[in-house]
Symmetry: C2
Amino acid sequence: MFAVVMAGGAGTRFWPASSERLPKQFLKVVGEQSLLAQTLDRIRPLVPDERVFIVVNRSHIEPTSDTVKGRAANILAEPIGRNTAACIGLAALHIARVSPDDPMVVLPADHFIRDDEGFRAGVSAAVEIAKSGALVTIGVSPDRPETGFGYIETGDIAGEALGEDFFRVVKFVEKPPLEKALEYVAGGRHLWNSGIFVFTAKTILREIELLAPTLHEGLAEIDRAIGAPDYDEVLSAVYPRLEAISIDYAVMEKTTAPVHALKSDFGWSDVGSWEAVYHLHADKCDAEGNVLLGTGITADSRGNLLYSTMDRPVAFVGVEGLTVVDTADGLLVARLDRSQDVKHVPSLLKARGR
Amino acid sequence: MFAVVMAGGAGTRFWPASSERLPKQFLKVVGEQSLLAQTLDRIRPLVPDERVFIVVNRSHIEPTSDTVKGRAANILAEPIGRNTAACIGLAALHIARVSPDDPMVVLPADHFIRDDEGFRAGVSAAVEIAKSGALVTIGVSPDRPETGFGYIETGDIAGEALGEDFFRVVKFVEKPPLEKALEYVAGGRHLWNSGIFVFTAKTILREIELLAPTLHEGLAEIDRAIGAPDYDEVLSAVYPRLEAISIDYAVMEKTTAPVHALKSDFGWSDVGSWEAVYHLHADKCDAEGNVLLGTGITADSRGNLLYSTMDRPVAFVGVEGLTVVDTADGLLVARLDRSQDVKHVPSLLKARGR
C-alpha cells in the first residue's frame, strides 16, 4: 500500500503560531512532535518510507525535509495549493507509475489521532476493501454536535463480507447548523468526515476522469512530463490552472462507484482552532481548568489556554475562557470560543501593512 | 523655594512594564516622557535646577541621571526605601544646610497631572502659606468614590488672609471602603490626599523631632556626616535602621502645628494601576473603547488596554475589558478591573524561581 500525506495547508487559524512560512502541520500544537511528524510516524508501521508521498507547497519543502530527516519518503511540491482533488490526483499519477492497483491511503498532515493502533487497524481494514476498486472513507463516530466538520450520512451495513464497521454511504453533508448537528448525533446514522480516504490510484484517476474531466486533462498534461527534464516547468505552468476543488465535492459526492464508510473511533480531531487545542489537552489542565503550554502563572483565572514559544513568563489575573498565544511573530488574545475567528487576523494585519 | 521629588517607588503594580530595575516613575505609561521626567519639567518653571532634590533608591541612580540629563538637580541616594518620612527627612537635612526657612514642595515622582499650570498656581499659593511655618497639604477635589486613595477631611476655610481655597484639616483618613467613599464625595468636605506637601525644612525637621523622636535621632546621625568623607558609610549604616513610616502617619495626622489643605483641581492621578492608565487615555480610545499603546488590531473587542514595547502585532479577538501588557520581561493578561492584583505577580514569579 501507499500513503499520501496532504501537507499543503496554509494555516491562518493558528496565528501567530502558524504563518505562511510555517503552517499548522509543522507546529507542535498537540504532542511532543509536529502534527506532520506524528502523521508520518503513525503510518510508518503500515507503509514503507519509499511508498509515502508527502504533498506540500513548494515554499514548505525545507520544513518538510527537516521533518522527514533523510528517510526515503517522496516529497511532491505543489507550485500553489489547488485543494484536495488536485493534490490527490497529482500523487495518484506518481503512484500509478509504480503500482496502479495498490491501495493508497490519503490523509491530512495536520490532524491529531490519539489512538494510533486503532487508526492503523481501521486503515488496514479499509485497504482490504479498496483493493476491489471501491472508494473507502473513514468516518468518526461523533461525540458532540460539532458544526465545524462535514458529516457522512450512512445507510445499511455495506455487506456481511466487508465486516460490521463498513456502511453504505448515503450522502456527504457540508458543515451543518447546530440544530442539524444535534439531530445527527442523536440519530446515530451520521459520522464525521475525517478527510481520510482509501482507494487505488487507478480507481481515483478513473473517477476524476469521469467526474472532473477538465481537472483530469490538466493532470494528464502533468503525467506526460513525469520523469522528463521539463517536469518542474510543466507543473509550474499547468498546476495553477487546475480547478481548486475538494475530493469530496469532485468525486465522493458524485461517484456511482461503491463508496463505503468505515465507522471508527480512534480519538480523531482536525485540530481546527485553538479551542480544539485546549480540549485536546484536557489531561494537562490544572485544577482551575487552565492549560499552560509555556511558562504561565495564574491568579484567580479559569479555563484559559496559553501557548507560548517565548522564554518569558505570562501572567493571567482574574481572566476566564481566553486563549493567549505568544510567539516571536505576534500575540493573540482571544476568547477561546471565538477562536474560529482567528483566521481573519492575518488578512487584517496585511491590510494594515504588517 | 526647593523641590523634593520622591522617586523611591519599587513598582510592582505595573509588571511586566515595571520591574525592580525600572519602576513606574521611569516608564512612559502616560504621556510622551517618563513620569519622573514630567514631574521635573512640571516643577522647573518654579524651582531652579540646583534647588531640586531627587530622592531615589541607590540602584536607580543611573536611570535618574539619564532623566536629569546633565542638569544641576541633586540626586540623593537611599540605600533602601524607608517610606516617606525618612525620605523627606533626608532631603530636609540637606536643604536645611542651605536655607532652612525656605519652603520645600514635596512631590511623588510617579503621579500624573494634566494641568501643569494649575498645579504650579496651587504650589505657588501653598508656598506663600508655608513660609509662615505652617504645613500645607495639597488636596484634590474628588470626582468619583475612589477607594484606592487616602482622603483629607476639611473643616472651615483656614482664614480670610490665606484665600478661599485653603481649609483647616480636620483629619487624614486612610483608604476608605466604597460606602464611606460615596459619603465623602457626596458630602463635599473631603479631598483626595495627593501626597504633595509644602513646608520649610526647619518646620518638618522640628515636627519629626517632636513626633517621631527615634527617626529624628537617626536623621541627626546622618546630618552630622553631611559633607564628611564617611557620609556614604554612615548613610548605609544608619538609613536601613530608620523607622519606615509615612509622613502622613508620622507627622501630618499628629501635629499640633497649623495644617492647611489647599483644595485644587488640576487633573491629578496617582496612576495606581493599569486601570488608571486606561482611564488616563480616554482621549485615545477607538470607537469600541480600546486604548492601544503599541501595534494592536481588534476584532469585535471592546474596552481593552494594550501597552506594548515589543515590535510585533497584538490581536484581540472577541474580548472585553482586558489589560494586555507586552514587554521583553513578560506578558500580562488581566481583567482591567482586577489590575490592582497585578502587584502580586512579581512575588508569585519569584516563588516559582523566575
